[in-house]
């Protein structure tokens, strides 16, 4: 599946990647995937699966999905 780590969430990827692919053998709980990716749950404000916002504790994802994760958003200049 395609994964996008928005904002500073990419900092937690070992290679600091914002976009990458992971292979899922079977549908899995989103929280389990996030823990495997090493992204702190407390830093995630928005999770979107196939561009639709989902509930972090309830969502499940599969290999064909696209996942976007974003931290809390503050101001720009």
């Amino acid at each position: 599946m395609e994964v996008h780590l928005g904002g500073h969430l990419a900092f937690y990827d070992r290679e600091k990647r914002s976009w990458f692919e992971v292979h899922l053998e079977a549908e899995t709980a989103l929280l389990d995937l996030i823990r495997e990716l090493g992204v702190p749950e407390a830093e995630i404000a928005i999770a979107a699966v196939n561009r639709t916002v989902v509930s972090l504790p309830e969502a499940r994802v599969g290999d064909a999905d696209r996942l976007d994760l974003y931290p809390p958003m503050s101001g720009g200049t």
Partner: protein, 647 residues
């Protein structure tokens, strides 16, 4: 002299062509340490209520913060403050870069400018001495040429140049001030005030070092080194350096709070053409401000469908959303070119974009037609028209003359439903942050004395999760209870009250919004260490919050004197109607909840819930009893506040 300051303020009367300086003692600086507080003090003391913002009597204050120039990341900011020609109220805008630190190194804490020069001039400040120099040959020139000419005339390529562009010369109500071409005091039309005084530029050069002003130079230097080492390893600093504010665009869209089509919608169907991935294809690098390890400033250069040179700052999120989604333009090259034009011409990006989005909606509703717009098809998504309009606004030519007045005045002229399309507070256009998804930001838009501004307080999403890094970083400010982004209850109001005072303190200290908690690159304790080392004062977080609150109250008294009341602390009606699309489709702010939150906020601030004016008791508690007469009632506004700018 008070440590951390130069103890000197320069006074320039352009009508008389005279220059003098004055000094204050430590007791004065502890109450008004710098930046917003110092400037507001002078504006309240010396501006005659009701005076024309674009007349010679307006007082323009350029004030460095207390810590501006200290060798600490983000201690770069200075304020430009005057009566705003856009709002008629307290005008203020901050910028980073190198000019503010250089002012401090040149031996000054602030420059006060009054009067109007008969001919264009620029001010040259070097190590405490100053002179006015002829700028007739610079008037009408592009900013890079002006900067180069001044440096050549002064024989020093390291002179720091602050200046206006064509829009400032033409007194466009939302003209900005730039320094070093890449840093901008964007908001509330401070460039128009400078232009109205025939002051094209202020060049500064200094040889002092901030540490020599400090009470404890060793501690200050040690803190600066530690932060320079820590900051690059901080996740949010990494984000600002590698992605910058353009990294927000995707998140805003996903969350349903990307202002689109003049704030009708919260998601943009062509977001992939203006998002971070699109931005990466055009970005050429990043730059820094003085002594700052964050390095968040975007650099951009490309030549394709449009051409952009690496002369000015590249587009930040505000430009991308403002000219992109809010004008429904899915073309980042055109957006970047519009951003470059604003910088070249000296226009505030946010107000320019907001005013054009307003005009596009008027056009689509038939309130104006090609006969009004010089034949321009002013429809959402028309990038060519966007670029043409930016130039006409700066030159106040054709239809640009109407839009140069800002969306509020343009709406009054157009009539009909036009005022309902003007997305402003107190006449200043909304930044690209959607209050229907961040209601605390809406409280800030409504109550801020300078009109809609997104840097007045902390944004709501930072306070949802108590385990998050931003939330944990503000415990030292007394914020310990989380609350939802859409909550308008008492917890949110308390958070907002604290955050507004803290952000105001940052404007007094000269720290960038991107540094201290809740961004948390610099912890509250580090800010206290910096102030203590700079000044020798045993300050606490509570004292800094009070310093921030004092500055807010001075701005509020200024507005009360000009006739502003609670009725001016209002959001555009559109925000009380549902968003049309996106993740928050159907979401609106509940008007009753908002009004109750406003009342609760006034009560916390010690302001009269009916009038919105500070009570005498609160002013006295803040040591502002000398302003109480002004807070008692309006003196001005009226004709002077709405006067058309002369040419």
């Amino acid at each position: 002299m008070s440590h951390g300051t130069n103890g000197t303020i320069l006074r320039v009367d352009l009508t008389a062509g005279s220059i003098s300086s004055e000094s204050f003692d430590e007791a004065f600086y502890r109450r008004y340490p710098g930046g917003k507080a110092l400037a507001a003090y002078y504006l309240l003391r010396e501006f005659r209520p009701g005076g024309d913002p674009l007349g010679p009597d307006n007082l323009l204050v350029l004030a460095a913060g207390l810590l501006t120039g200290a060798p600490i990341s983000t201690a770069t900011r200075f304020n430009a403050i005057a009566r705003s020609p856009l709002t008629g109220g307290f005008g203020e805008s901050e910028a980073g870069g190198y000019w503010g630190p250089e002012l401090k190194m040149a031996g000054l804490d602030a420059i006060l400018v009054t009067g109007r020069s008969p001919d264009p001039v620029y001010l040259w400040v070097k190590d405490g001495t100053a002179e006015l120099r002829d700028a007739r040959h610079l008037w009408g020139q592009d900013p890079p040429a002006v900067q180069a000419a001044i440096r050549e005339e002064l024989g020093d390529r390291l002179v720091r140049v602050l200046q206006i562009g064509r829009a400032g010369e033409n007194r466009v109500r939302y003209a900005m001030i730039m320094n070093e071409l890449r840093h901008y005091n964007g908001r509330t039309g401070m460039g128009a005030v400078m232009g109205s005084k025939n002051l094209r530029a202020v060049a500064v050069r200094g040889s002092r070092r901030y540490v020599d002003l400090a009470h404890d130079p060793a501690t200050l230097a040690e803190l600066g080194k530690r932060l320079a080492k820590q900051i690059p390893e901080h996740p949010q600093a990494w984000d600002l350096r590698t992605k910058g504010t353009p990294g927000l665009t995707d998140a805003m869209n996903a969350g349903g709070i990307l202002p689109t089509r003049n704030f009708r919608q919260g998601a943009f169907e062509r977001v992939d053409e203006i998002n971070f991935a699109a931005y990466l294809e055009l970005r050429s690098g990043t730059r820094s401000c003085y002594a700052c390890a964050v390095r968040c400033k975007p650099a951009m250069a490309f030549s394709d469908r449009h051409t952009v040179a690496d002369t000015y700052d590249g587009p930040e999120y505000e430009a991308i959303a403002g000219f992109g989604s809010d004008c429904a333009i899915g073309d980042l090259q055109a957006v970047a070119r519009a951003n470059e034009l604003c910088n070249e011409l000296g226009l505030d990006v946010i107000s320019t974009a907001g005013t054009i989005a307003f005009a596009m909606e008027c056009f689509e509703h038939g309130l104006i037609g090609p006969g009004d717009t010089d034949g321009l098809e002013l429809r959402f998504g028309n990038a060519d028209v966007l670029l043409e309009l930016v130039v006409r606004i700066a030159d106040r030519s054709g239809f640009g003359e109407l839009l140069a007045q800002g969306s509020q005045r343009a709406a009054e002229t157009i009539g009909g439903d036009a005022p309902s399309f003007a997305m402003h507070v107190k006449g200043q256009e909304l930044p690209m942050h959607e209050p229907r998804g961040k209601v605390g930001v809406g409280l800030g838009y409504a109550t801020n004395e300078a009109g809609a501004d997104h840097l007045v307080g902390f944004h709501d999403p930072l306070f949802v999760n108590p385990e998050s890094v931003p939330f944990r970083s503000v415990a030292d400010l007394g914020i310990t209870e989380p609350t939802g982004a859409l909550d308008l209850g008492e917890k949110k109001v308390r958070i907002w009250y604290t955050s507004e005072r803290w952000n105001s303190a940052e404007k007094v200290l000269g720290l960038c919004f991107f540094g201290p908690a809740p961004r948390s690159l610099i912890q509250v304790a580090d800010v206290l260490t910096a102030v203590r080392a700079a000044t020798g004062w045993d300050v606490t977080a509570d004292e800094l919050l009070e310093v921030g609150e004092r500055a807010v109250n001075m701005a509020r008294v200024f507005n009360v004197r000009e006739g502003f009341t609670r009725a001016d602390d209002r959001l555009p009606d559109r925000l009380f109607t549902p968003l049309e699309n996106g993740a928050l489709a159907g979401t609106a702010i509940a008007r009753d909840d908002f009004e109750q939150a406003l009342t609760n906020l006034y009560l916390l601030k010690g302001w009269d819930p009916v009038t919105g004016a500070p009570t005498e008791g609160r002013l006295r508690a803040l040591g502002l009893e000398w302003t109480a007469a002004g807070a008692a009632g309006a003196v001005g506004r009226g004709a002077a506040g709405s006067a058309e700018p002369g040419r």
